[in-house]
């Protein structure tokens, strides 16, 4: 009887020790996203969970929903620092409000890798994202390529003051400056929203009738809202040059119907690339499997994960690649 009890106690103890040894094994990475309410951040966090090192059990990721609030993100940083995460992937809501949490974490010896949105600090271990100024140039160029040197366009902008709105706007301005024959009839924010862009475009179509030759939208949701307004007004979106940014699923579908062009922002590459770089900074890049994005973008230099900035290329979505991209979304 006594020996049996001893044996049980011993087994229990041994089990406890071995599980705790296992539990120490996976690296704990926190991912602080600005908010999980849009399709893009959903794709981003799903890609993170599908990283080969997460699937193999070498890395354990926890995704935090920042709820579009810089203060919420700052509090989440505090708890990640308290719980001693090995590294943090950071998609800040605001380029300035993010600075203090990053400094706090790096002072605590936790490397922070930025992803997708910028943070105005040199304390980031690295940044893996895409250049929004370039996106602005590409989206404007797409529209101008279709309507030619002379024409009239409207511009749909993101929420005024957000870094993506400022940077994409800067890119659009660059291209417009090079094309003096293009007249901007209207330029207004629709706050990234499909419903807002729909009403705005309906009103613009009333005010400008058939003058509008092109729609430059800073994101796809607003481009789709514009398409719906154009259809509702009895016009055909095929007659108006429309382009957006991001490559959301509905935009890809609209590309297949030749209603718009879009520029894909690769959420998978941004998320998995950021984790790869974080693993490199933890000295684990040789021990755990890395993602395949470095093979997918040969022009992207891996550099052992040591670079300050990784600019994931934008991909122009056209008839050649849209079917394949849509298939990946299934």
């Amino acid at each position: 009887m006594k020996t049996t009890l001893h044996r049980i106690a011993f087994t229990a103890l041994a089990t406890a020790i071995s599980t705790s040894a296992l539990a120490e094994d996976p690296l704990r990475i926190g991912a602080a996203t600005y908010g999980l309410q849009g399709e893009f951040m959903q794709l981003w966090s799903n890609a993170l969970e599908a990283h080969p090192a997460v699937l193999s059990g070498d890395v354990e990721v926890t995704v935090f929903d920042g709820r579009y609030d810089a203060l919420v993100q700052s509090n989440q940083f505090d708890s990640m620092i308290t719980r001693q995460y090995d590294a943090i992937l950071f998609v800040p809501i605001d380029a300035d409000a993010c600075v203090a949490p990053v400094i706090k974490a790096s002072a605590a010896g936790i490397p922070v890798v930025g992803s997708n949105t910028r943070c105005n600090t040199d304390q980031l271990a690295s940044f893996v994202g895409s250049d929004d100024v370039l996106a602005g140039q590409m989206v404007a160029q797409q529209v101008i390529d279709q309507i030619g040197d002379n024409g009239k366009v409207v511009v749909l902008e993101g929420p005024i003051g957000q870094s993506a709105q400022i940077d994409r706007g800067e890119g659009i301005d660059k291209v417009l400056a090079e094309n003096p024959g293009i007249e901007v009839l209207e330029r207004r924010t629709a706050n990234w929203s499909r419903a807002e862009a729909l009403s705005l475009m309906e009103n613009w179509l009333t005010a400008h009738r058939d003058e509008i030759g092109g729609v430059i939208a800073q994101n796809d949701e607003m481009a789709i809202g514009a398409i719906q307004a154009i259809i509702a007004s009895g016009r055909s979106p095929n007659d108006i040059a429309i382009a957006g940014v991001d490559g959301i699923t509905d935009a890809l579908k609209a590309v297949t119907q030749e209603q718009m062009a879009t520029i894909l922002q690769d959420a998978t590459a941004q998320a998995q690339g950021a984790l790869d770089v974080a693993l490199a900074r933890l000295g684990k890049a040789d021990e755990v499997p890395l993602s395949d994005i470095w093979e997918r973008y040969p022009e992207l230099e891996w550099a052992g994960g040591e670079a300050d900035t990784y600019n994931i290329p934008w991909t122009l979505v056209d008839q050649d690649n849209v079917a394949e991209l849509l298939e990946q979304r299934q």
Binding site: L36, Q37, G38, E39, M41, Q42, E186, R188, T189, R194, A195, L198, S199, L200, E202, N203, W204, T206, A207, E221, I224, G225, Q228, I231, A232, S233, I248, T249, D250, K253
Partner: protein, 330 residues
């Protein structure tokens, strides 16, 4: 037709008479304000009075209109419903999930389930306010968050698109040249107007808001009426959910954020007292139209959206100011 709707207040005939006169003045006032606004806009913008533009305005206001009608019932009983935007988003998501092209469901399924989803949440509000005496502000503030949470849980944060053409007809179709959402809004308005003016239930709604104690003493089942107005608001959120998903061709989890503010604004501009018991559904109609015409007019004129918010806010305050001076004069 406007002046008599407040005669439903079953109090003394003296107040009745006085209400009738002030009621007439305030209805008359808002209609005058609306006409003045329309005249100004048609002078400064040549496009404003076009048939297509006026149909656009009606289409753009129809969703807020449906929400504002439900809100009028609630506010008449001294309540408030802060959860309409979130309940609408949830209903849209539920309906859309059964309206996708390859689901093969007959149209009646998404329609019924969308309305039922709104109604169910409205009933929860109603039970908690009427039975458990939770203050309406607190209950519906809670529901604002809960319904949004349910929307994200149900959709996993992803939009639902590729909806069947028959479903999209609800938001984009036309019947004899009139957009379907406008017809739905008109039908809801007529029904609400008839209910408040000609039915016992309508009289009880005014009575409960005017003086709950007197209503209870005169044998009215106050909690049943209170429950019903929140259920009505929920049901109309269900309808608005169908309309917005069909209009934007997708149910978006972040749809309808802050829509409660526009609905409340329309009711308040329309002269319904937040203190309950006084107000007309016709006022709400013109409140809705005034907000819609301001947005449309400023879009046509190319005025920055910053000014739209400023103007809308100022009108709300002025409307309540007029309401106050009207009350203190009597």
């Amino acid at each position: 037709m406007n002046q008599a709707s407040s005669s439903a207040t079953p109090t003394t005939s003296a107040t009745d008479h006085r209400n009738r006169i002030t009621g007439f003045l305030s209805d008359y006032g808002i209609i005058v304000a609306f006409i003045v606004l329309c005249v100004i806009l048609s002078v400064v913008s040549p496009y404003f009075l076009g048939v297509n533009n006026l149909l656009n305005v009606l289409r753009q206001v129809s969703i807020n209109g449906v929400l504002a009608i439900g809100m009028t019932f609630v506010i008449l009983t001294r309540g408030i419903d802060l959860s309409v935007g979130s309940m609408m988003a949830f209903a849209a998501m539920v309906a859309a999930s059964f309206a996708v092209v390859d689901s093969g469901m007959p149209l009646i399924v998404p329609l019924t389930l969308g309305l039922a989803a709104g109604l169910a949440l409205g009933c929860v509000n109603g039970v908690m306010v009427a039975r458990f005496a939770i203050p309406p502000f607190v209950m519906t503030l809670g529901m604002l968050s809960m319904a949004r949470g349910l929307t994200y849980i149900y959709s996993d944060g992803m939009p639902i698109s590729s909806l069947s053409p028959s479903f999209l007809w609800l938001g984009q179709g036309m019947v004899v040249g009139i957009p379907v959402p406008v017809i739905l809004f008109a039908a809801v308005f007529m029904l609400a107007w008839f209910t408040l003016r000609y039915t016992t239930f309508g009289r009880y709604v005014y009575a409960v808001g005017g003086n709950p104690t007197a209503a209870r003493l005169s044998g009215i089942k106050v909690s049943r009426i209170t429950f019903s107005v929140y259920a009505i608001s929920g049901l109309l959120c269900g309808l608005a959910g169908l309309m917005i998903a069909a209009r934007t061709s997708a149910a978006l989890p972040q749809a309808g954020v802050a829509y409660e503010l526009d609905a409340i604004a329309a009711v308040v501009i329309g002269g319904t007292s937040l203190a309950g018991g006084k107000g007309r559904i016709v006022g709400t109609l013109f409140g809705v139209l005034i907000i819609g015409v301001i947005n449309n007019g400023l879009d046509l004129l190319g005025v920055s959206s910053f000014y739209q918010q400023l103007v809308k806010g100022a009108i709300i305050v002025v409307a309540v100011m007029l309401d106050r001076s009207r009350l203190s004069n009597t």
